[in-house]
Subunit: 138 residues, 2 copies
Amino acid sequence: MANCLDQLKRDGAKMTKTRRLLVELFERCRLPLSETEIRQALAARGRPVNKTTVYRELAALIARGLVQQVDFGDRKLRFELAGHHHHLVCTGCRKVQDIHVRHDTGRIERLAKAQKHFIIRRHSLEFFGLCQACAKDA
Amino acid sequence: MANCLDQLKRDGAKMTKTRRLLVELFERCRLPLSETEIRQALAARGRPVNKTTVYRELAALIARGLVQQVDFGDRKLRFELAGHHHHLVCTGCRKVQDIHVRHDTGRIERLAKAQKHFIIRRHSLEFFGLCQACAKDA
DNA sequence: TTGACAAACGCAACTAAGTTGCATTAAGAT
DNA sequence: ATCTTAATGCAACTTAGTTGCGTTTGTCAA
């Protein structure tokens, strides 16, 4: 992760306060964040930024492969440190947890190739349901 | 599927031309459609409708369990006949194909319950990559 | 067949998320 | 210290979806 900041530097990027804070934020929190959440977090740390800046910063980090987009179907983009994760999304309180899942994508990739001549590059797998607290209420 | 139209009737719904065409469209096409695509298709069949109507109609069908939402992460809602599907989404031409996948959700559900006290209700699993035509170009 | 009632509809105005163009500010190298 | 260029803010815009309200149209019963 630190080498990614190095990479940024190498191709002419500047080490701004915003960029440092943003990477820090992702590393500490390790969960998908929306643009709004990111701006709130940065503002709370004394760095209020425009939403345009957030999107541009994210685009830069995504282009370098540091950050990736996640998608929970609420038509809101979310972002997290790159790496293959899956999540448990609570439909009650919207809280998100990581979950480790071993699953055999190879089989499906071969199937798609053989039957549909389709080359799978990536997949998304997300789980929706109720967290402990919300299950109690229901 | 026909019994779903019956069900609609039973609780006071009217059999409008739009509704008939819409259900027909879903049954014939069997792939996730966006609001825009739906309106184009209806217009092509001589029934131009307002987007508000489309969304309301979809809400009614979803409420009855006839239709479900799908999500390909392009912050656009899509809709298809209810039932558990997975898709191959071409990132080149955006074409979508169904794919049949057997996979063991039971294991993961038990895991989520045991480790995180999380009750999984549903999941989404979508594959992104290149279809035959687009793979050639790349 | 007709008339009444509720569902369906269209329209216009609105919200929320994300994007773009342009002028200004500020890293950081020389 | 200065200069170059990345980073930033702002305002205006786009796209997807929602809401309120007045009008139209199925449907059912008389």
